[in-house]
């Protein structure tokens, strides 16, 4: 089977640009939650890329500005094939005039133009979109449909999505505390991230080894708290291997932690080090899976897992796995988990390039 490698990465988050900057911020337990200036969040904080606030041209989506930040970090010559992961795309275009518009496809058109792609795919699997896009591209490479592909994840902080999650009671009162006993919800963020996947690497930084995908088929917004089908996805990705560390979905909601910890503890009686970057970067929806894959490569290169930001008293099921201090990791891959509305589960195994 053809190996699929991660060759180039690009990252734009509320903590800065590039994998190096972001990973250093994660190691330092930096967080990035502030009030947005581009809409009234009704007192809520989000992870905002404030440098974009004065860069948006009239009629332009904030998402386009996020993608433009990525373009500058990537090589001039990019794959002809593009996979875009997003939940709502250029949703601010709808906010501006209220007219119905296919906001995800509007962002796909924009990405196709910005990255010079000849063939563009939109991948929408709720908050699992990022990892689903990576493995959809990896499957195409493995099948010989293409030699390489650019995978981009992007979602903005918007009034639309903030109002939506608020209506479901899913937002934290302050900032998120994944895997803590007193967690009370998620905090939204905006980000864009990109990886170039290839079968012909020159200087790879990681390898996509395996993945598993399932659907709970239980509830349209809540995960199956027993974690049965999320566990099945992880089991498929791991295929008997024990990961060196886990980047959890870790949104900071009680339901997420219950499902995730039930799934993981059913597979591994002693959990390896566990970490969620949503306590630093917020929940960046369609971007989060791509960010997690990039951070997985950084963890493998440095053999160090960032500390868990926002940690108070750990959930007993995670007490041995989460830490407020950076943790050294042993050999093995990084298991990255995404989950989304509708019960979509995705587990991805990223290994060292060598």
């Amino acid at each position: 089977m053809t190996d699929v490698w991660i060759e180039h990465t690009a990252l734009k988050t509320a903590l800065g640009e590039g994998a190096e900057t972001t990973f250093a911020a994660l190691l330092a337990k930096q967080t990035s939650f502030t009030a947005p200036l581009h809409f009234d969040s009704k007192g809520r904080v989000l992870a905002i890329c404030h440098d974009l606030d004065h860069r948006i041209a009239p009629g332009q989506s904030r998402a386009e500005a996020l993608l433009a930040s990525l373009r500058q970090q990537l090589p001039d010559r990019l794959p002809e094939r593009l996979y875009l992961a997003t939940t709502v795309g250029a949703i601010d275009l709808l906010e501006k005039d209220g007219n119905p518009i296919e906001t995800s496809r509007a962002l796909l058109d924009c990405a196709k133009r910005l990255f010079g792609a000849r063939q563009a795919w939109l991948v929408a699997a709720a908050c699992a979109s990022g990892q689903v896009a990576i493995t959809t591209a990896a499957a195409a490479i493995r099948a010989g449909q293409c030699a390489d592909a650019l995978v981009v994840g992007c979602d903005i902080a918007s009034e639309f999505v903030t109002a939506g999650f608020a209506s479901l009671g899913a937002l934290a009162a302050t900032t998120p505390r994944p895997y803590s006993q007193d967690r009370d919800g998620m905090t939204l963020g905006e980000a864009a991230a990109a990886v170039v996947l290839t079968a012909r690497p020159k200087q790879p930084c990681g390898r996509i080894t395996a993945w598993g995908e399932t659907c709970d088929a239980a509830h349209i917004t809540a995960p199956d708290r027993a974690g049965t089908w999320l566990g099945r996805a992880c089991q498929t990705a791991l295929a008997g291997r024990t990961p060196a560390a886990i980047i959890g979905h870790g949104t900071g909601t009680v339901y997420n932690d219950d499902a995730e910890l039930a799934a993981l503890t059913s597979l591994m009686p002693t959990l390896p080090p566990l970490f969620s970057l949503k306590a630093n970067l917020g929940h960046t929806m369609g971007a989060t899976g791509v960010i997690q894959a990039i951070i997985a490569t950084a963890i493998l290169q440095r053999r160090q897992l960032p500390p868990q930001a926002g940690l108070t008293i750990p959930d007993p099921r995670a007490a041995q796995a989460v830490s407020a201090l950076p943790a050294a990791i042993r050999d093995g891959g990084i298991l990255s988990i995404n989950a989304g509305f509708g019960g979509i589960n995705h587990a991805l195994l990223v290994e060292k390039a060598s």
Partner: protein, 176 residues
């Protein structure tokens, strides 16, 4: 790859490809009753059917009718769901936003927010039929490639376009 079941629902009729079943209806609730009264209908959970919008209702019913059309080959645990091209969520997005603005931008409605994701109709079909394979909506140039990337023995594709919903179940070369 071969088609083992297919169903199409328009604004007034529902039909299945292999079994030749055809239903006329004026309301989707009436169509639901006709479909689930068929003796060959697989076990399904329609407890949340009433709260769904028309696109979701049509998707659920098209999926059930396609499952009926598969006959004994229907295997929900080995089936992945793939939303393919067609309409996205522009109408649902506008509905949530207009309602939120009309209500003074104070609070959105969760029941209108959830359908603003393109993958929601598929997941509602998964809940109704207990489908546990991968679920994703893709918009792209090559359906065969999208199906192959699901890595499932069976893939149910669902396309919603121009008030018509089509669910097609394909058997693929992938092993369980």
């Amino acid at each position: 790859m071969s088609i083992i079941g297919q169903a199409t629902i328009t604004t007034t009729t529902a039909s299945a490809l292999r079994s030749g079943l055809v239903f006329s209806f004026t309301e989707l609730a009436g169509l639901r009753d006709q479909i689930i009264s068929r003796p060959e209908c697989p076990a399904c959970d329609l407890s949340d059917f009433r709260r769904a919008g028309p696109n979701v209702k049509r998707t659920i019913l098209a999926a059930i009718l396609a499952a009926i059309d598969c006959g004994t080959q229907w295997q929900p645990d080995a089936t992945a769901l793939l939303g393919w091209n067609g309409d996205g969520c522009a109408a649902e997005n506008a509905l949530f936003w207009q309602d939120y603005v009309t209500n003074g931008r104070t609070q959105g409605r969760g029941t209108l927010f959830v359908p603003t994701l393109c993958s929601i109709p598929l997941c509602e079909a998964a809940i109704a039929l207990g489908i546990h394979g991968a679920a994703a909506y893709l918009h792209g140039p090559d359906l065969a490639e999208a199906i192959a990337a699901r890595h499932a023995p069976f893939v149910m594709t669902i396309t919603i376009a121009d008030s018509q919903t089509t669910a097609t179940v394909l058997e693929t070369p992938h092993e369980a």
